[in-house]
Symmetry: C2
Subunit: 354 residues, 2 copies
């Protein structure tokens, strides 16, 4: 039967975003959003913007936002690409840096969207196993024969490679593109790899406004790399959708970058809450990975993770459970506000005791 | 030399969006935006929205906006797909309904992005020549052997196929998907093809908020079709970018759909201005195609179109000129406000006289 769909549209198994049930008001610890609202300057700038101009297309090059990011990170605007969320940049990267049939390397446990992209664009994924402690063994990432994706900190483990480990991967793959997906780097109290873009022409770094800048709702991500790589992304983008970033997201993004004090303050609060939560969970007998992200990845020897997930949901708290080999006895818990984490810890105690 | 780019990123020639020069304040008649601001309800709803919620991901299924469109057009929400501008839906359509190497049919003169998509996704485009008067001969679109794209009204000619002609194409290609790109249909004073979706399972209709709903700056488009086709688009979208539509665009879109009186009023104004402009241009010796869109496509026997384009730009008016075979003696002029078109007509008179 001809149902008009392409083979891809028929067969692909899409990525599943975190659930957003509407049956009651949940404490949402399942999609790694910030518990804090965006900078108050975001609201002010949007409200004061010229709404009549919404009739006009936005700047396809998003130069005003690029300028703010360039200033903050001390790079050139030609080193920056802006996407409709960092997922869009990931998708464009699969198109810009890989040909059909190419191999692509990433850890066996990482952001699961990479596998979906590999299927969508007919790449040949090679999943490199993590060590038993869920860490990445950088010795497995040397002198490979094709491009590499590394989420750092990794998801959903939250584990971090330090800057010298990242540099070792980059310098030992001079003929391969190395894409460092730093969605969670701002919570890691370490250097971003973007500082290496002038030293290595094979490095692309991708970040997002969805976590540390509290703007998941406005869909903004950015990549930093040398001009050649950025041009590759632009060539794909301008062949796909000229205007990917709307006017109000541009305005919101500019204010979120400008208000660096607010950014640092909220990030620090989340880090403090994370460390406090880790301690409490360990006291309750949890195995807590040393996450450097805005989420933690935990398991308990007495209760199966899926049960914890279901019981928490029943008690009004959403966390993320991946029914996937190797990690199917872990849950991923976004770091919320102190108050939210206190409620979470209380409910967790209840679950363990019963 | 390994410059890390895929063959596609190296070789593709992207679509060129209309220029947005910043050297002076132009009257912008080059990208078919509405001269009228969006409904005042858009501003009100955005300003009154919960900015704290921008920290949260938007609804990936955009159900609240789908409900408004479904109500207005009397279809089911499962018949609707929302995109980040209709260009994104076009891109997803190339992925959802065509396999690599497939033929794809469209007129030789039409929205030039179709050719870019064909190149991006390795399709085998077959361009069917327009008649000498730039109209589409529907007899050339019967019993084809692969999918078809028709922009109706066509771009950049503005010429319309009437509903029975569109239906003839659809009914005579029962084994091929027929995609009707209705970016400009609201200016055509005719029926949209979406009313045929329950009669023909091979029909997908794509529309946009960028023209008749004055929201080019917020990036919203939608497709209407049967559930199978919409599911195909969803499978691709959820394999590409889970959250393509941000929270404020959803709010803006809902208000733009709800305020149907404002919509009708501004569309009627544009139609009236278009018809008046056509008459004046004919009086000045222009060949004016009978556009049913919010732009006109014109040529003059005494002055080459590129000269008119350059002279208008010099006088502060931007129009669109395509240096393309067959249409290289035409300019495309967006219908602005009455005042803008009066200035345009005055400048045009100056150009013709000198």
């Amino acid at each position: 039967m001809n149902n008009f769909l392409s083979n891809k549209a028929k067969s692909i198994e899409p990525y599943t975003p975190g659930e957003q049930p509407k049956d009651k008001n949940y404490i949402k610890l399942n999609t790694n959003e910030s518990p804090y609202p965006p900078s108050p300057h975001v609201k002010k700038a949007v409200i004061e913007s010229r709404f009549d101009d919404l009739r006009l297309y936005p700047d396809p090059n998003v130069i005003d936002l690029k300028k703010e990011i360039a200033e903050l990170y001390n790079v050139n605007t030609n080193n920056i690409f802006i996407g409709n969320g960092s997922d869009e940049i990931l998708a464009f990267s699969f198109m810009a840096f890989f040909n059909k049939g190419d191999k692509i390397y990433y850890p066996n446990i990482t952001y699961s969207f990479y596998s979906v992209y590999s299927a969508l664009f007919d790449l040949n994924e090679v999943k490199i196993p993590l060590k038993d402690d869920f860490s990445i063994d950088i010795n497995n990432y040397k002198n490979l024969d094709s491009g590499i994706f590394i989420a750092n900190p990794n998801a959903p483990t939250g584990l971090l490679l330090n800057p010298s480990q990242i540099e070792e991967i980059i310098m030992n793959n001079k003929n391969n593109i190395v894409i460092i997906d730093e969605a969670y780097i701002d919570f890691a109290e370490t250097e971003s790899a973007y500082k290496l873009i002038n030293k290595y022409d094979n490095l692309l770094v991708i970040q997002t406004f969805s976590k540390s800048r509290s703007l998941a709702g406005m869909r903004l991500g950015f990549a930093i790399g040398n001009e050649n790589l950025i041009q590759g992304l632009k060539n794909i983008k301008y062949s796909f959708n000229s205007y990917t970033i709307n006017r109000l997201s541009i305005i919101a993004g500019i204010e979120a970058v400008k208000d660096n004090e607010y950014f640092k303050d909220t990030v620090n609060k989340i880090i403090n809450t994370r460390e406090r939560t880790k301690i409490k969970l360990k006291e309750l007998g949890f195995n807590v990975l040393d996450s450097k992200s805005n989420f933690i990845f935990i398991s308990h020897k007495n209760i199966f993770a899926e049960d914890i997930y279901l019981k928490l949901k029943d008690k009004g708290i959403l966390v993320r459970y991946f029914k996937t080999d190797i990690i199917d006895n872990y849950i991923r818990v976004t770091i919320g506000s102190d108050k939210e984490m206190d409620i979470f810890l209380e409910k967790i105690k209840d679950i363990i005791r019963n």
